[in-house]
Structure formats: structure tokens, C-alpha cells
């Protein structure tokens, strides 16, 4: 059967056309994406990469809620200028507890992957409430409401950690049991700051230097 007569069949039969499209479009995914999902080395944490604590996880969820990732990447490319500006380039193993990944696609603000430890907690608090008090030219939005809401009200922390444990994050029973009391007395801005301070600290001291 020539290619054209095969095609004539497909173009005259709804079922065949549906099947043809499904088949042809699935190949790329099966050959390119599936192997990546099965690549175990991408699931190996680097030495200091640990699951987020109750406070950090809450901070991360606030980061997601506020859409910080539309302006900030968390991915340092292995380029001289980039390593110079932001620190050691990003390794796959540093992100194994990131669901979803938070690499971003646009740098309206600087990369935040190695922001942990760069500033004090107080700097972050002031900056988050009104960035222009510390960086007058800043075009980052202010987040005054983060200082007014309790961190314990950001979703159900026990349910979150339990769900993540199902997905393989090694939380102990004790950690989950203590989660609610960990958040007590903290505001959202404290949780977000804790998350920012842990970012990029997952590398071996040797490499991180």
C-alpha cells in the first residue's frame, strides 16, 4: 500500500485519524520523557538536601501562593557570569524535594537559588513588607499582609506533610506530630523567610565553598 492510499484511509475514517494522532504525538513523550522519569540519579539528594521542615514548607507554599516564581528563577546555569553573580551552579539533586519544581522562566528579579544566608532574617522581613525601604529603585511588589497573617492558617500542615510522605519524603511521625506546634506564634513572613534562608544550602561544603 502506498503512503498516499494509507493516508486516504486515515483521512476518511474518524477512528483511524484519532488513533493516528495519538500514536504520532505520543512517540516523543515515550522516548524522551519516560526515560527521564525513570532516571534514578535525578532522584538522589545531594548531601545536605533534606525535606523541608514544617516551617519551611509553609514558607514555600506562601512563595507559590504569591507567585514569586513569575519574577524569580531558582536555577543557576553553569556559566562564569552566573556563578560569579549568584554562586555555585544548580545540581539536579538539590531539587528532589521540590514538588513542583520552582526554577522559573523569567528573571524580573535576581535568581534566588543561593539566597539562603545572603541576608539576615530582619533584612528579608523589611524587604518583603516594602522592598523600597532597602532598595529604593526596586520594582518588586510589597507584601505587607504577610506580616499580619498567622503561619498556622496557611493550609493544613499535617495533611501536607502526610501527603508528601506518601510521595516518598522521609518525614518521621514525630516531625509530623510536632508540625502544628512548630508553627505556633509565627507569622507568614517568618515562614517565608525561613524558606528563603534554607534555599541553596543543600550542597557539600566542599563544592559550596
Amino acid at each position: 500500500m502506498s503512503a498516499l492510499s494509507l493516508h486516504k484511509k486515515i483521512e476518511e475514517n474518524t477512528g483511524l485519524l484519532i488513533f493516528g494522532i495519538l500514536l504520532v504525538s505520543a512517540i516523543g513523550g515515550l522516548v524522551q520523557i519516560l526515560p527521564v522519569l525513570n532516571q534514578k540519579s535525578l532522584e538522589e539528594p545531594t548531601v545536605n538536601t533534606k525535606p523541608y521542615s514544617a516551617i519551611e514548607l509553609t514558607g514555600r507554599d506562601i512563595y507559590m501562593r504569591e507567585g514569586c516564581s513569575v519574577c524569580h528563577s531558582q536555577q543557576i546555569r553553569p556559566l562564569i557570569a552566573e556563578v560569579e553573580r549568584y554562586g555555585p551552579y544548580s545540581r539536579a539533586g538539590e531539587f528532589v524535594y521540590d514538588r513542583p519544581f520552582m526554577w522559573g522562566s523569567k528573571r524580573t528579579g535576581p535568581d534566588l537559588h543561593r539566597i539562603g544566608g545572603k541576608y539576615t532574617d530582619d533584612w528579608h522581613r523589611i524587604h518583603l513588607i516594602d522592598p523600597r525601604t532597602v532598595v529604593p529603585e526596586s520594582i518588586m511588589p510589597g507584601y505587607p499582609w504577610l506580616a499580619e497573617r498567622a503561619a498556622s492558617e496557611t493550609g493544613n500542615i499535617v495533611a501536607k506533610m502526610t501527603a508528601l510522605r506518601k510521595l516518598g519524603h522521609p518525614y518521621t511521625d514525630a516531625q509530623i506530630a510536632a508540625a502544628e506546634s512548630d508553627l505556633e506564634g509565627l507569622m507568614e513572613i517568618d515562614a517565608l523567610t525561613a524558606y528563603l534562608q534554607i534555599l541553596g544550602t543543600g550542597l557539600d561544603e566542599e563544592i559550596a565553598r
Binding site: N13, I21, G28, Q39, R99, F101, S105, G109, P141, A163
Partner: protein
Amino acid sequence: MTSATIAQGHDPLAETGEVYEDAVVIRLIQFSVLWAVVAMTAGVYISAELLWPTIDLGQFWLSFGRLRPLHTNGIIFGFGVSALMATAFYSVQRTSHVRLFSPALAWFCCYAWQLVVLLGGLSLLAGWNTTKEYAELEWPFDIAIAVVWVIFGVVFFGTIARRKIRPIYISNWFYGALIIVIAMLHIVNNLAIPVTVDKSYSLYAGAQDAVVQWWYGHNAVGFLLTGGFLGMMYYFLPKHSGRPIWSYRLSVVAFWAFTYSYIWAGPHHLHYNAIPEWVQSLSVVMSVILLAPSWATMINGIMTVSTAWEKLKTDPALKFIVLSLAFYGLATFEGPMMSFPSVNVVSHFTDWTIGHVHSGALGWNAMITYGTFYFMVPRLVGAPLHSVRLANIHFALALAGTMLYIVAMWGAGVSQGLLWLSVDEIGELSFSFKDVMTSMQPFYALRLIAGLIFLTGTLLMTYNLFKTLAGRQAVVAKAPPVDPAYAINKEVTA
């Protein structure tokens, strides 16, 4: 060929076939235009926020990080998908010579989709956000989308299965690919464990999640913003210019090449990121290959109107469609260039990407939709367009707005990319982040003006279409008799 069949004129007296269901098409067009205005207003607002960051007035729901997903989702799912549903329902009836399979389901599809977009948009403002680009909506919406999408598929393929014409016309393959591939991508990318109604965690983590997300993200662009709109092109361009598609065989080859190669190109969104290198390299090869079917399609379209240039002078609808093809050519040339690691190293993370996005989004998606609406609405209600002059003004505004937007973002993006990467002789960075950030202001101001111009054009169209529709109902359109040469014969089953 089939294209000749659809291009032939109607003889109303001979029309004895089924009555087309067109009221739902009109309703979908109305919603589409509504979402265009809402989402573009959000786009203009966030453009302004990058100049004057305090205009969010300390309100969480006006914050950039929440309005930006509202802009992208509102445009893609509100404006884009409503327009695709409208044009798919319109053209599938006319290329199959039958009424929609189950008008009731089509109406359900129309309203259920609008409800998803409305509530989904509000949920984004409330901060329900998975942060996966173009898949930001949380799991309850993902399920609702999947259900409505399946119903869309049932109506569409159900109509094709009932058709009276033997060959399935080419526009329907593109709409078909839109429905099938988007369903696959949507389901796989959104797999997650729900925690509470507003929160879920992705089944994939880190690097693997990134690869899955951009397999989705790139192909949402590929099969929704490109494939779906090519379906529009393949029906409305020949129909409107009164010329059959220039090369039917080219469209066949381009369709399958397109469907095959798009899927591989996603990882070009992750160059130099922490994913396996072979995946990146493969995506470069496939992105370059993609240039071929993309340009083949553009050439096919341009050649189709090449004998109808005189119409272009007088007809704003056709002008929009032809210009959109030029921008389609531009975006699909720029895309493969940006896939080369040596170019991407500069363009990635910068406003260059934003410029590329909007050359496709404004120049291609919005313009072809505008042209198609200007063509369909008068026909649907059997009255002339309220004002051709306004439509011509809209055309000028749309072209000016798009060009200004792209040029501003090229300027911003290329300078960002180069300045960030520049180091002096001793390896020290030449520019601080703050220096580069402050130098963006003139470009952002130009983009704001561009957005305002484009939005003004869209508002003119809204008024024009509103006046054309006001007080009128869908005219009764019937399927014409089928040319025996293309009729379904008994042996061939659907």
C-alpha cells in the same frame, strides 16, 4: 478536492440539508471577546506595575504574582479556547454537511467552560496556584477541565462521525489534534496528590517535574496556540479568499511532521538547567526541524491568497488573517533560533522570551482570531459588519501595538541578556543586577504604550461586533447538497 468543495458558493434554493447549530457559536464568540478584554486589561495593568510597583495598593489580589497568571490563563483558556470552540463548531458542521452532534452537549460545553474560566480566574487571585506555567489552576479545576474537554471531543468527533462528506477536511485534523494532544498533556502534567481543596503536590519532583512541565508547556503552545489556530487558518482562509488551499499534499505532510516533531522540543525551555544533556540536545534538533512544517504551512497559506490580493485592499478580515500568517512565520523562525544554546544563553530568563511570546500571541493568535470574528459574525446574523472603517482602524492599531511590543521587548531582552553575562578582563561582573533592572524602564514604558494601543483596538472590535450582533439572531443556515464525488458511500463506515 475537498477544499474545492468548501470553497464553492451556496445556492440557497438547493439547501435541503440539516440546519446548523449556530447560536452556540455566537455565544462562544461573545465570551471569547469578553475574556480578551479582561485578560488584556490585566496584561496592561501588570505592564504598568513593572513601572510603578506600588499601584497594587497593597491589595493581595492586585499583586503582580497573582495577576500575571490571571493574564496568561484568561487569555489562553478564556479568549483562546472559547475562540477555538466557536470556530471548531462552526467549521466542523460546514465541512461535514451536518448539524452538530448533540447541540445540548455543545451548549453545556460552552457554559461549563466559561464557569471554569471564571472560577479558575478568581481562584488564581485567591492564590490557589500550582505555579506550573499555563497549568496554574489547582486540582478541582484540572478535573473540571478534563471533563469539559472530553465533552468537547465528543461533540467534535461525533459530528465528524456523522458527516456526509467522505474525506475529513484538513482543518478538522488540526482541531482534532488540539483536542487529543491537549487532553494527554493536561492529564499527565497535572497528576498530583490533593491535600485540601486549594492545594496539591505534584507527583513529580525537581528535575523530572521540570521536564514533564515543559513537555506540557511547549506543546500547549504547539497544539493549542499553534495547532488549534492552524485549524482556523485552514478553514477560514480558503473560505474567505474564495480559493482552495494551494497544496493539499503539502498540508498533509506538514500536519504529520508538525504533530510528530513538536512533542520533542519542550526541553529547549531548560537549556543549561539541571536536566540530562541528551534531552536538551535532542530538543534543539527537533526545534530546528520544526521550522520546516511551520514555514510550509505559512507558505501554503500565503500562496492560497496569492491570487486574491485585490480582496486584501478592501477587506479588513482578510487583512488580519494574512498578516497573522506573517507573524506566525516570524515567531516560528525566532523560536528555532532561540533553541540554539548559544542564543538561548542570552535570551533565557529575559524579556526576549516575552517578546517572542507576544509576537506569536498578539501577531498570530489574536490577529487570526480577530480576522475570523470579523468574517463570521456578519455571516452568522446575516447583516453587514457595523463599520468597516472601524475594523480598518483596528487593523492599524493591532499592527502598531504588536510591532511596538516586540521591538521594545527585543531591546529589553537583548540588553538584559548581554549585560548580565558581561564580565571584565579580571573576571568581575560589569553590571550589578540593580543597574540592569533600572535600565529597563524605558522599554517597559514602550511596552505599556504598545499594550494600550493593542487593547484600544480590541475595544473597537468589541463595540463593532456588539453593534453588528445587537438585536439579531443567528440566521438559519442549512447544509448544502453533497457533491456525489465526495459523498459517503455505503461501504465506508465512519
